[in-house]
């Protein structure tokens, strides 16, 4: 039996999802016979962790702080073993621009893109380069904040007239925005869980939007407007290729323990990696646990495995 602190909540925009993930992890840990202590992350985090002195920390904190490496850095300082990716991998996944550069450098296909900081627009006249960017990337475009775990702030720009407002929205979440070529196709996600130090790709999940117009591009990120299929029904060989590519991305980004990789399958069969999530959702409706279940790994076993990897790293 181990004492495990379950970090959740916090003040990111994904607080609610994180509380659900955390509660579910806590339940699982208790069923597994561990002592689970939930911590809603706030200014007394260090004090609480010091007092509790847990054997390991389960990071169920999504979004800022939990996924951007902040918490991981703190846990390194405190010398506490924790679940999932380390500081550097978190930083690489959290910043979608950095993710895409690393993917491109590793020869992993990702939609064409350009990214700008707010300073570039405010002080360096990047706005005058917009037409050039737009003609390079071609419409439609997807505009998103560089760092934002959920779908908030993601806009679809069908024409040049939509771009400035989309950029303004994206800057509500981050100081850097990403303009990305829109890939029309199927929306796929692959959960990765390590097994004996080797990333193992879970069955592919497909998000199927109810409806196909532009409005639904945004709506499809909302519960109730999207149906998830696991395993996704894909042409022969495509599922395997998707899983291989996701595992490649996982390695390129240096993830550890588990992660989720999001991809697009273009109509012509080409695959593109969009991003990776270092602390993917673990709620009842989240994709990674569903995929694990489809692969014969029930939730409790998944939690146990993720925890065991953290403890093993501590003793290594």
């Amino acid at each position: 039996m181990s004492t495990v602190a379950v970090l959740q909540g916090g003040r990111s925009l994904e607080r609610q999802v994180s509380l659900k993930s955390g509660a579910r992890v806590e339940d699982a840990l208790q069923r597994l016979g561990h002592r689970a202590v939930a911590i809603d992350v706030g200014s007394d985090l260090v004090a609480q962790l010091t007092e509790l002195a847990p054997d390991a920390v389960f990071v169920a904190l999504h979004g800022r702080d939990g996924e951007d490496g902040t918490i991981q850095e703190l846990l390194e300082v405190l010398g506490l073993p924790y679940t999932g990716s380390g500081v550097a991998a978190c930083i690489r996944c959290w910043d979608k621009v950095l993710t895409k550069h690393l993917l491109r450098d590793a020869g992993i296909p990702t939609p064409d893109f350009h990214a700008f900081s707010e300073t570039a627009f405010r002080e360096l006249g990047a706005a005058t380069a917009l037409p050039a960017i737009e003609s390079q990337l071609e419409f439609p475009l997807v505009v998103k904040p560089a760092a934002q775990g959920s779908a908030l702030g993601i806009k679809f720009a069908a024409t040049a007239a939509d771009v400035p407002a989309a950029i303004v929205s994206a800057f509500s979440y981050d100081r850097k925005v990403l303009l990305e070529r829109y890939v029309a196709g199927r929306d796929l996600a692959v959960g990765i869980v390590e097994e004996d130090g080797v990333p193992r790709a879970l069955p592919v999940v497909e998000a199927v939007a109810e409806g196909r117009d532009f409005y639904d591009f945004e709506a499809r990120y909302e519960i109730g407007r999207t149906r998830f299929e696991c395993p996704a029904e894909l042409p022969a060989g495509v599922a395997e290729r998707t899983q291989e590519l996701a595992a490649e991305a996982y390695r390129a980004l240096g993830c550890a323990g588990f992660a989720r990789v999001d991809l697009m399958l273009r109509e012509d069969g080409e695959l593109f990696v969009l991003e990776a999530n270092s602390v993917p959702g673990l709620t009842e409706t989240s994709l990674l646990p569903q995929a694990a279940d489809a692969a014969g790994i029930p939730f409790d076993a998944l939690v146990e495995r993720i925890l065991a990897m953290a403890l093993a790293r501590a003793t290594a």
Binding site: R11, R24, F121, A127, A165, F171, I223, G224, E284
Partner: protein, 462 residues
């Protein structure tokens, strides 16, 4: 911070129960917005998002004395079930409140409910089959949206302007619905100090609305929580008083004139409708709280209830003025907002390139919150508007909250200016907003400025 380890059942394992849920539970609004709204409750956030009355001014000793008297004189009754329609003593108080707004009501035509919200629920329960049409205002009360959705109603929203719901558009819409063979079951309106619009329906429109209801034999649900909270101008007659009790269902509540915590509201309705609502209420909760009904009865018997309302009017008037003043000071020239004569809310509309749901995320970084306009629509409109509440915070907090919102709006206006090559916005000039101009601007506030965007884009394309 939680350090709890209570045994939690796995009842929240949604997936295990998903197959059992009714179809209507699948009608869900934006989860992203819900998650954002949950963050507005952090202690350090100045929340202009809620709709909360200020209960801090209610004297604690009055409360204690009333409860003591109930304990001494009616303890067993307070702890017992009551009749579904409510206690006669509570109905008497309700009649007094309605009298104060110029209505006479037969106490037999009243149903005491668990807050005004239950009236909306019971009216839907009584009238709405899945797919039936409800006509509402655009924007409408955000709290009614989940109720309408849970009855799987098809909601059609009619634009507001500074005189309230546009009855010409209402009639056109009713004609269209008739041609399409869809008969609306009721028209939902908040005629006075509309939530969230802040506007009040003019007398001619009230008259015409009641006529329309009679001509077409349509029910109107008149939601009037704020009628007595008027800070300027002359009171207007309620639809209920003009209708003669035939086609108007009236919704009243003690929430804004006494306390929302006592959860007491009421419906006054034509008897056949009221009987069905009574059956619906039996099924829902048998009766409203006996304890709080007795509290209201004691409170009304103990002195003049209007004094407390008058004290609230003083408090809220000053807060409204503080908010209007702060908006003039801190919001950019491109923004426009309503000038409510009463109630709790101001509706502000920003340039159409600002998405207020995204803006809220940015505002939360500055520890301030509002309700994004989209919450008041069922069709995705309202994206550039916001509802601001002035009853729940004091003047200093209102001023600071509006300043912070103004700051993030100014940032986005300037950024948009940079992106489109237009000159960044100049700071607002306070004195320019004369009363005459305000009325003109109002016409634009409530019609969402999609058209302006088209012209702006046309200009920038040149």
């Amino acid at each position: 911070m939680t350090g709890r380890t209570p045994p939690r059942s796995t009842a929240h394992d949604l997936a295990r129960y998903a197959g059992l849920f009714a179809q209507r539970t699948k009608v869900m609004k934006s989860s992203a917005m819900r998650d954002l709204m949950a963050l507005t409750e952090r202690a350090e956030v100045i929340s202009l998002a809620g709709g909360m009355p200020d209960t801090s001014s209610f004297p604690a000793d009055t409360y204690a004395a009333l409860m003591q008297r109930i304990a001494d004189e009616a303890c067993a009754r307070a702890l017992q079930y009551g009749p579904t329609e409510g206690f006669a003593t509570a109905a008497h108080c309700i009649a007094e409140v309605m009298q104060a707004e110029g209505m006479t009501v037969d106490e037999g035509e009243l149903l005491v409910t668990t807050g005004g919200q239950q009236v909306i629920d019971l009216v839907c329960k009584t009238l709405i089959d899945p797919g039936d049409v409800i006509v509402a205002e655009a924007p409408t009360y955000p709290g009614a949206v989940p109720t309408f959705c849970s009855y799987e109603a098809d909601v059609v929203q009619i634009e507001l302007d500074e005189d309230g719901m546009r009855i010409d558009e209402l009639e056109e819409t009713l004609d269209r619905l008739e041609r399409e063979g869809r008969r609306p079951k009721f028209i939902y309106t908040i005629p006075s100090f509309q939530n969230p619009g802040g506007v009040t329906m003019s007398l001619p429109r009230r008259q015409r609305l009641v006529q329309v209801a009679h001509e077409r034999e349509l029910l109107v649900l008149e939601d009037n929580p704020y009628g007595l909270l008027r800070y300027e101008g002359e009171p207007l007659p309620t639809l209920y008083s003009m209708d003669g009790g035939e086609f108007v269902i009236y919704l009243g509540t003690f929430s804004k004139i006494l306390s929302p915590g006592i959860r007491l509201g009421w419906a006054a309705a034509p008897r056949p409708v009221l009987q069905k609502m009574n059956l619906g209420k039996q099924a829902a909760d048998l009766c409203s709280s006996s304890m709080t009904q007795l509290f209201v009865a004691e409170y009304f018997a103990s002195g003049d209830w209007r004094e407390y309302v008058n004290s609230l009017v003083e408090i809220y008037r000053s807060r409204r003025d503080a908010m209007l003043d702060a908006l003039r000071t801190y919001f950019p020239r491109e923004a426009a907002w309503t000038q409510p004569e009463g109630g709790l809310f101001i509706w502000a509309t920003l340039p159409d390139y600002i998405d207020t749901t995204d803006l809220l995320a940015r505002a939360l970084d500055e520890n301030v919150a509002f309700v994004p306009g989209r919450a008041a629509y069922l069709d995705g409109r309202g994206g550039s508007s916001m509802r601001l509440n002035f009853s729940g915070s004091d003047e200093a907090a209102i001023r600071e909250g509006v300043r912070r919102i103004g700051k993030v709006v100014a940032e986005q206006v300037a950024l948009y200016g940079t992106l489109t090559g237009a000159a960044p916005a100049a700071p607002p000039v306070v004195d320019e907003r004369e009363a005459g101009q305000v009325a003109e601007q109002l016409a634009e506030v409530l019609e969402l400025p999609r058209r302006r965007s088209a012209s702006r884009r046309a200009e920038s394309d040149r």
